[in-house]
Subunit: 392 residues, 4 copies
Amino acid sequence: MTNRNTRRAGRHFLQIPGPSNVPDSVLRAMAQPVIDHRGPDFPELTERILEKLNRVFDCSGPVFVYPASGTGGWECALLNCLSPGDRVLACETGHFATLWKNVAEKLGLEVQWLAGDWRHGIDPQRVEDSLRQDSDHSIKAVLAVHTETSTGVTSRIAEVRAAIDNAGHPALFMVDAVSSLACSEFSHDDWKVDVTVSASQKGLMLPPGLCFNAVSDRALESAAQAVSHHSYWRWDAMLENNQRGYFPYTPATNLLYGLDEALSLLLAEGMDNVFARHARLARATRSAVSAWGLENVCLDEREFCNSTTAVLVPDNCDADVLRKLILERFDMSLGTGLGRMKGRIFRIGHIGDFNELMLAGTLSGLEMGLELAGIPFSKGGINAALDCLAGD
Amino acid sequence: MTNRNTRRAGRHFLQIPGPSNVPDSVLRAMAQPVIDHRGPDFPELTERILEKLNRVFDCSGPVFVYPASGTGGWECALLNCLSPGDRVLACETGHFATLWKNVAEKLGLEVQWLAGDWRHGIDPQRVEDSLRQDSDHSIKAVLAVHTETSTGVTSRIAEVRAAIDNAGHPALFMVDAVSSLACSEFSHDDWKVDVTVSASQKGLMLPPGLCFNAVSDRALESAAQAVSHHSYWRWDAMLENNQRGYFPYTPATNLLYGLDEALSLLLAEGMDNVFARHARLARATRSAVSAWGLENVCLDEREFCNSTTAVLVPDNCDADVLRKLILERFDMSLGTGLGRMKGRIFRIGHIGDFNELMLAGTLSGLEMGLELAGIPFSKGGINAALDCLAGD
Amino acid sequence: MTNRNTRRAGRHFLQIPGPSNVPDSVLRAMAQPVIDHRGPDFPELTERILEKLNRVFDCSGPVFVYPASGTGGWECALLNCLSPGDRVLACETGHFATLWKNVAEKLGLEVQWLAGDWRHGIDPQRVEDSLRQDSDHSIKAVLAVHTETSTGVTSRIAEVRAAIDNAGHPALFMVDAVSSLACSEFSHDDWKVDVTVSASQKGLMLPPGLCFNAVSDRALESAAQAVSHHSYWRWDAMLENNQRGYFPYTPATNLLYGLDEALSLLLAEGMDNVFARHARLARATRSAVSAWGLENVCLDEREFCNSTTAVLVPDNCDADVLRKLILERFDMSLGTGLGRMKGRIFRIGHIGDFNELMLAGTLSGLEMGLELAGIPFSKGGINAALDCLAGD
Amino acid sequence: MTNRNTRRAGRHFLQIPGPSNVPDSVLRAMAQPVIDHRGPDFPELTERILEKLNRVFDCSGPVFVYPASGTGGWECALLNCLSPGDRVLACETGHFATLWKNVAEKLGLEVQWLAGDWRHGIDPQRVEDSLRQDSDHSIKAVLAVHTETSTGVTSRIAEVRAAIDNAGHPALFMVDAVSSLACSEFSHDDWKVDVTVSASQKGLMLPPGLCFNAVSDRALESAAQAVSHHSYWRWDAMLENNQRGYFPYTPATNLLYGLDEALSLLLAEGMDNVFARHARLARATRSAVSAWGLENVCLDEREFCNSTTAVLVPDNCDADVLRKLILERFDMSLGTGLGRMKGRIFRIGHIGDFNELMLAGTLSGLEMGLELAGIPFSKGGINAALDCLAGD
């Protein structure tokens, strides 16, 4: 084997399920000089961004942008709408659903936990049953993760919405769309989501540092009643300032520059084309996984995921050894198994600014890595993927 | 007057008291591709940054970096150390001290408000008196703004520290160094500050989007006892992850790239040189203000400010009319009067990546603007400033 | 004096008479990835650039863009139109006119040298006289520098054109507009220029690396006859390729990206506004020079220069000592005296992406530098300039 | 097939044989502000670059850097060393060798043309024979292209050198290393090359816009005697200025910034590692071509090329139809057939900042494209390449 040293030639393949590959033009947009966030030119930027966010979240109400990580978006949703002691129904789909539950508990909420096996999405029937049993409507909100990044399973949010309606339950519907927004079809308004939580570093093709809350009128009404102790995340101050084109405190101006550009790129491609592209690349990835004889974590094809494919390695194999080998040998980062999946899976991110040949490189790296790591598998995943991509 | 259209030639002069002028190399650093925040290369970045932050905050304990605005840093400090119902002593120095007090109240704290006239810094004696009166030590923390951005007054933090010591009071000492860090001398350890709150967009020469908490052992001990409901801001998770070179959730990677570069620039110049430069530019600015016959908001020369000079306009003049004229005519942004100062003052930011000739351009814009706005003043401020700069 | 070290804070003031200050957006445009210069998308870029160049040169014929320095543009013009042994009339206006003459001689041309004093532009009458004396039309071309960068003198090209016409002489008219294009009014077509030579790093607000030849039909006809030995500079290959949107060899793609952006910025401002801005800034600069009691190299006010002001220092003073002091103390680069002007003058560039407050900073640096260097002068140049700028 | 519109997601694959993929850090380096090319800081940049160029060209004499395309480098070499009417021996290896010959003829040189079949490199024996026949040493220079970009054939320059020596002929040895430098082993000094011509946009990983002449003492001596008419390309002025850290006219400063960074990257990787990487990627590419049952233009394995693989399509197929399909469908640019190869071949560039997974994406795009274009071939090239890369 050729000696290799620390300077790695060529592009790093960042195939974790987020942060995703960021377009060059977004990085360059972020390098623009800072402007006065209280000056007369700022509202034009704010308004341009908010108008485009409405199209991407498919909503007509406010979308709030915070200088924060995605986990801040969870906290923001809960603090604004709920008060300590309130009860929420949270659905276990994997590691991130669990983390959101943990946040809820830290905020003093009482969590009813709908346990799951990490290989399926949310069962709408179980949500409906749980809500029907809550005859006094003590449950104030249902928490659902759309795409569970840790497992590559995409829950059927429209059906969960229907379940809530069927139960005739007034709970708010809070959805984490961090890993699904701008990857899979998502409609805040049509699905009557009350708070959609998202973040910048996945389908939005930005570096991390911004989180979002898209909110319904019902959510705003709840916020007027809630009594949690908080200030930074307050929607009321955000709403009032946004309406004039400003923010209640200094916004992350340069990330907003990037957001402005990234949203323009998505809308220029067309959201339906964006979804179709991700679906196409995800399909090709699953073809490769099948051909390798490996198992997708996601067991229900209705819940296949456009943004991430999580793959089980055979028993007695360590997925992290494979990941390390691929990183060192082929300069590609893959996602690790989280929580109970530690060591058992690797996750392939195929989101963001990504295309067919980048995917082919990604799957090639995996095919070589699987062989070099001595993991039992059948060669030919790359061929299955190319057949899929060429035939699509 | 020559017709002017929307494309403004040349550099915008961003002379608000923050965000400040960002070095080109920091903007370019932020345009580097995102890397895996869970990968093996990330700890090197984290450790490099944390080591340099210790030198800039002049502290040996942890400095926590959050993807958030500076106001988030206030909330972070209060939530970690205190519990709802706790009492704090907060010192009114201006608009930002008031905002911090408001945050404390929203978090359920009981605020003892040491009123001020917005033209002086904190009176150490009054702090000592207040603490002495609190014989049962119900005050859990003293909140002090080092440089009050809204007035250009820099409180004598070392003397406030001495006042607390003189009173023999165990309250935590929380200092907002948002506008003073890397502008004026500041020592977290020597001044026995328990939590220093700061942000990226002032002396650190970065775009907004990061806030900081530098914390003492006593603050960490308090955090172990406090019972506020929060998750995003938790120091314990941050500390545990930082020690391994990581963050508890996705950090704002590209702002960290910028931070890494900005800290290197500051340390290459040398912190003492950085302070001396800011002092020199501030002195020249005050020379100009005096020569114009205008009044500095700051009345006590021991409290003159290295980062911002706030200037009163004569009665019957509207400072915002002046600011608007200067922006339109000379493409320079100045700070507006905040709160009770609205319309009565303009503020000159002379922070960040700034030098003599940039200041000369700034003061020239003001001298022309004052004349064009018809504000009564004496010409020659620019000459006084140049004399000062050439003689320094 | 405060200790200063190698890291200079704030912006460098690049006030040489070119390269000029480049807009950030031009630098960012240059950082776009390279594309296939033979691919189907390239012609769109080429055509966009060539269309805008026609507007900036004010011409309808071809403008050729070469990856080369401006001096290459001189050679390009001469090699294409002329043959070794041909005679040209060249007008001495300063250092660059002399260099162009030297190039002509190296190319085997016979130069008739119209000597000048370096403090005036070209005398149209002398051109007319010389041409009238050339009754057999042995002079094949007249070489004129529009703005002589070494002296800050702008010759009256329209009058030189009239002189040629008055003499009824068929010589080609070649004009160096390196330092005048996009600074002072210039019309290739109206002035019946046969070859306009220019470069990227002055009024066009780009880094150096591109030169231009705008050519007339007559110049193209001459090129078809000329027999010089050359290949790189050939207009015929350039013309043929340009017409299809390509270049005969690999173009400097990333400089073309920058050119595309810079031309858009100029045209967005409006060429008349661009000229007016440069005129306004030049006027203010001359006010300062007068107030200092120093002498402008340019003696004829009809020849005052929009892009550069060259200033004589008193006898016994060394302009280079002043320049060095200003660079070290205030981080500003000024132009040196060239050729016979060495040590006797400094040159202030006020071109490119430049505005009022940048000029105020520039003149402030000079006023402080003159004093610190002990050069006899009267203070108050900055005030005269501000009066001029505020009154304009 | 999914509808696709004009915004292409993900990275363009620029797999032409130059310009090559440019590292992000090189693009960012080029976005630094321009500095004074006559100022005291410039020599540091010049010297840093020249020192590194010596290591990359493996020479101890001067390397001259011109703001120009690579074709300018040909002209530069010929004009400096030769005089019109001089005789040169030029070796036909393909399109670029032919173009260089054309340049020589335009410069008035008499070319003895050693015809070739475009599928082999230079035959050293024929060079030796030709020189032996030139008993009066009328041949002043031998012109050889090291890697012929149009065919992907790398001539054995060391053996050509030996042939010249064997013939005992004093002709200068001029080598075009445009497509070989920093791709294949090259030693200006060891191979006693008199002028090495190269350019920025291939192995040096820069955008186009710079060309190079590395010169021997003998070449410098010839230059002192030659009488061609030229000025821009003069080595004497370049040498004299370089020795003081400057350039005789305004250099392309921002391309020099990029060069400085690119050279550092190459040397950090280590030239031997750079060559080994290119060899590895080229080998894998040839494996794919063989597996596809397609024919490499290069017929002699001693002349296999590290930077480009040119592939014949079967008779009755049009390589340009394939290239167009691949560009439209998979956003990858491949090299076209030039001159007599038009339509018969496509060329795969695997140079510059390039690695295994980028190559896998490239070959995947080809494998899909060949199928979609209906070109008779055997699938499995990608597998052969991965076997090669994984086994290497």
